[in-house]
Symmetry: C2
Subunit: 568 residues, 2 copies
């Protein structure tokens, strides 16, 4: 334990203390932050009255149940649970609980921690909550801080994960599991809460299984976090942070739309964070009605090529020109390139060639590319070619994430339109403006929805631990109803699992919930996009409001997936 | 007049009509936009009761009064005016008024127009308001639309300029002045309102002088618009749009700060729109407390070099590393490069060389650079060198605005830190993340301040025209007080003027109000920045709120410049 952490253990730290471990104080804040501090998220009524934790039916797995049963012999088949009104059988015994953030930030994370804390204070007096610092690595190295009411207060309803920070480490190998075992034993933990995405919750399940297999008392509960929105299932309708991130991006997109319409001469290409899934792009499309939204999952399903995507955009630009519109807004997911089969193939070949050959200036190396990959490479703009050849990670692999897809598309559309112009098929002046909306969205103040949802998730986590459960992910449902009517429970993590075969072994995974092309959000979008393409149906949802008539609105994806009736 | 414009003249247009000239309808809107439509900006009490327009003392000019008197023989010396309670001498006669947006968008512009409209409706019944379409070009080509209550309603309190759009044309040459004359005569205009920045208001003054010199009845009134904040003086304390844009950028910066603190491994370099002036950067610094904010005016005054700026940043990064901080947030103005004398010199030399010589691969052309410029060129990262050589405008000039200064600084700081690392003077891992916040800020929903200020400016404009004034810019003052106590008047445009000598002639200009290094906002920043650099005093002001306790807060720049007492 570092001196800085020891010094801050359980004690409010003075403003004069420096260093990354300093906890924030209310006096560090401006008016707005202070105002949000004093917001008290409402609790579902089930949590305000006496309740019982009831087991459901035995569960199976999302796929390959036999393999999952083999991998999780102690957990497989255990029921999910739900809360119902009734006299609790849980004794008010105190608990020792550790909590950790795993992976990228998502708005609301701090409220999960304060939710756990508040539950323990109210229903398990004398409990202790430890925060592991710097993500899962903090568990392995036993870096932690004892969280007190004073320490956590300044993080209520605030964005970010900086109370205890996060990282992307995994606890997988026998040595790592052993380190985790030592830490939870040292701290005598009854429970460990892992707040993370699909990988982190898979990890939570592995840890739960490991502790159970060793007859240890430590229970492990997961919590669904990711702005990307790709961790969800029937019982876990949404991951926290998605609502806030989409609203922040939609505010910006709406503003850019007004600018496009006012200026009348730019096509804005906006790349949105969200990795491999296009949920954020789809939700932002539903909120703002862009002229074009590229959904990666559709590109993959239709096996589209770069040329197809370029032509799709160029066609709409040409039609809009005929209608007198020389401007527009196009949104696309960060991970678009990953969805295009031919690009994946090209990158695989480049990785192979660059590992063994020198890139000669005459371009002889290109002969090693397969014919289609060669054509694709030649089709790409020069700056992208250079990026593919030069920007490589320490393993020598092309860094796909570094490619600025929005700039690449602008260049390809420009080239295509130039060709059409020469043939007389396009008469406009195309000017593309690239944007990337990422970091500014994943650490905003959580919307009321995310603040309330995370608070309930935190409470649920406390309840699940208190009632002796392990290997569950906390689940809060009925989310389109008022908070009062939300349901609370826990879902067996093994029931979300499937296996993938890697290096000859079965590896458990929670399958990423990609955009369902037959799901209600996609069908709604598909039914409207042609209208949006040529007419301008832009909507500006404005900055997130915390009071007033729209402060409690929730995202369209959630409403549509849950079948809520509403005016669109 | 184009058919599309004729069709929309005065009539609400059905949703089915297509084309760029279609006016929006309330049914085009989402809930939030509709909610803002129904906001009624409060009026200063002086405008709610009977008032008189009172002349002040004769005025002079901001500089070179003799030249200004020569250039504006009919207007020079005329008094500014103010409103005082009393019985109006203005008859309720109706007016024909034209209005135009000039230059880039700024939040609140639509409220200036609705303010003029509402004034005319209430105090000059039977008046007609024409909107010139597509900026000053619309005046010269007589493209206009008659604005009606129904047409303008959907633009109340909304961002953007898309009601009638804008452009950057000027009305300067004798031919252009003649075209404007024909249009205002054709429409029988009593008044013309030009909503624009420093150049546009200079233009407004030239037009006022021209019309007066021809004994035409058309009066011209200007209105102070620009998010850049560089059009202001004692009587015109702020240009509209600045407040909103700064708050939108500050929301984003605050989010990125939380991300930086949570992740702990990135230095975010954020370039902010704002052209030649650093007001936006300074205001955002006061709102968010970044580790570093580069103020262009200071860079110019201290004659700093690129190397100085790079070292300044690298020094702070090294000191922060010793304190355990491997992250930070740095903000800089869009126009930074323009403030660095050596860069200006290099670009001038490059323009000269590239106009006459071929850039040979061996680099022989570089010998034509002066010694210092040569060194600077070699000091720049390769990608910037390429940008300087390749990206040129139709006149062959280097396009300074296209240089991504934030990326350039990241590369230069990276190179500097690499050198220090080799000498053992830096032990961290530097990772820079570039951002540009621009378009998303200049078309947001106007804050309550901008909505109210613009409404009052519009009203003032109507009053100035109604009382026979010309060559004034509408001015609303006492802005740190509640709206009820705001003052209203008009300032003689000639009193803001100076001359510049161009091509052997005197040219009138309203001097850009750059950041005053001895002004209260800069002094406040300068007194705090060392603390912000090493400690993390980040503030998150959150998304703009329209109701609730902070909905009417105004920016620090305005409060400090007006000497308001407040807790910082």
């Amino acid at each position: 334990m570092s001196p800085a952490i020891a010094a801050s253990n359980g004690l409010p730290v003075s403003r004069n203390e420096e260093g990354p471990s300093r906890f924030l104080l209310p006096s560090d804040y401006g008016d707005f932050q202070t105002n949000r501090l004093n917001h008290t998220p409402p609790l579902p009524s089930i949590l305000k009255n006496p309740f019982q934790v009831v087991d459901g039916h035995p569960t199976t797995a999302a796929g390959n149940p036999n393999e999952i049963a083999n991998l999780f012999p102690n957990l497989y088949g255990q029921p999910s649970v739900s809360l119902v009104p009734g006299q609790s059988e849980v004794k008010g015994q105190s608990l020792k609980v550790g909590v950790v953030f795993s992976g990228g930030q998502a708005p609301g994370g701090h409220n999960v921690i304060t939710g756990i804390f508040d539950y323990l204070q109210e229903r398990a007096r004398g409990s202790t909550l430890y925060g592991f610092k710097g993500g899962p690595a903090g568990i392995m190295s036993c870096k932690y801080v004892k969280l007190t009411a004073d320490l956590i207060y300044p993080y209520r309803n605030q964005g970010g994960f900086h109370m205890i920070c996060s990282s992307r480490d995994k606890i997988e190998t026998p040595e790592q599991l052993k380190q985790a075992e030592e830490t939870v034993k040292k701290l005598d933990l009854d429970g460990l809460v892992i707040i993370g995405g699909d990988d982190s919750n898979t990890n939570a399940c592995l840890l739960a299984e490991y502790f159970r297999s060793k007859n240890m008392k430590t229970q492990v509960i997961g919590c669904p976090k990711t702005i990307d929105g790709d961790l969800k299932c029937k019982d876990v309708p949404i991951s926290f942070g998605f609502d806030t991130a989409c609203k922040i991006y939609s505010e910006m997109i709406g503003n850019v739309m007004v600018d496009a319409r006012s200026t009348g001469k730019y096509y804005h290409f906006i790349r949105l964070m969200g990795r491999a899934a296009s949920h954020i792009t789809l939700e932002c499309a539903l909120q703002t009605h862009p002229n074009i939204a590229i959904i990666g999952e559709e590109v993959a399903a239709k096996k589209l090529t770069m040329k197809n995507v370029t032509n799709y955009i160029a066609d709409i630009i040409c039609k809009r020109m005929e209608l007198g519109f020389n401007y527009g807004v196009i949104i696309l997911p960060e991970g678009l390139i990953d969805f295009i089969p031919e690009v994946k193939q090209l990158i695989a070949e480049l990785n192979e060639i660059l590992a063994h050959d020198v890139v000669d200036e005459a371009g002889m190396w290109k002969r090693k590319l397969r014919s289609h990959s060669h054509d694709l490479f030649e089709f790409l703009p020069q700056s992208i070619q250079e990026q593919l050849l030069l920007e490589r990670d320490p393993h020598g692999n092309v860094q796909v994430a570094k490619i600025e897809t929005e700039k690449m598309l602008i260049q390809m559309v420009e080239a295509e339109l130039d060709q059409r112009k020469q043939k007389g098929a396009y008469k406009g002046q195309f000017q593309g403006k690239p944007h990337f909306f990422g970091y500014e969205g994943r650490c905003g103040f959580p919307t009321n929805f995310d603040a309330n949802y995370c608070n309930a998730l935190g409470y649920a986590t406390g309840i699940l631990l208190h009632s002796g459960k392990t290997g569950l992910i906390s689940s809060v449902g009925n989310l389109t109803a008022p908070v009062d009517e939300w349901t609370v429970g826990g879902t067996a993590l093994t029931s979300l699992m499937d296996v993938e075969r890697r290096h000859g072994k079965f590896k458990p995974v929670i399958k990423k919930a990609l955009v369902d092309l037959e799901g209600a959000p996609m069908l709604k979008f598909a039914s409207l996009r042609d209208d949006w393409a040529l007419k301008n149906r832009y909507l500006s949802s404005g900055p997130i409001q915390f009071v007033g008539p729209y402060a409690n609105d929730i995202n369209y994806t959630l409403m549509l997936e849950l079948g809520a009736q509403f005016h669109f």
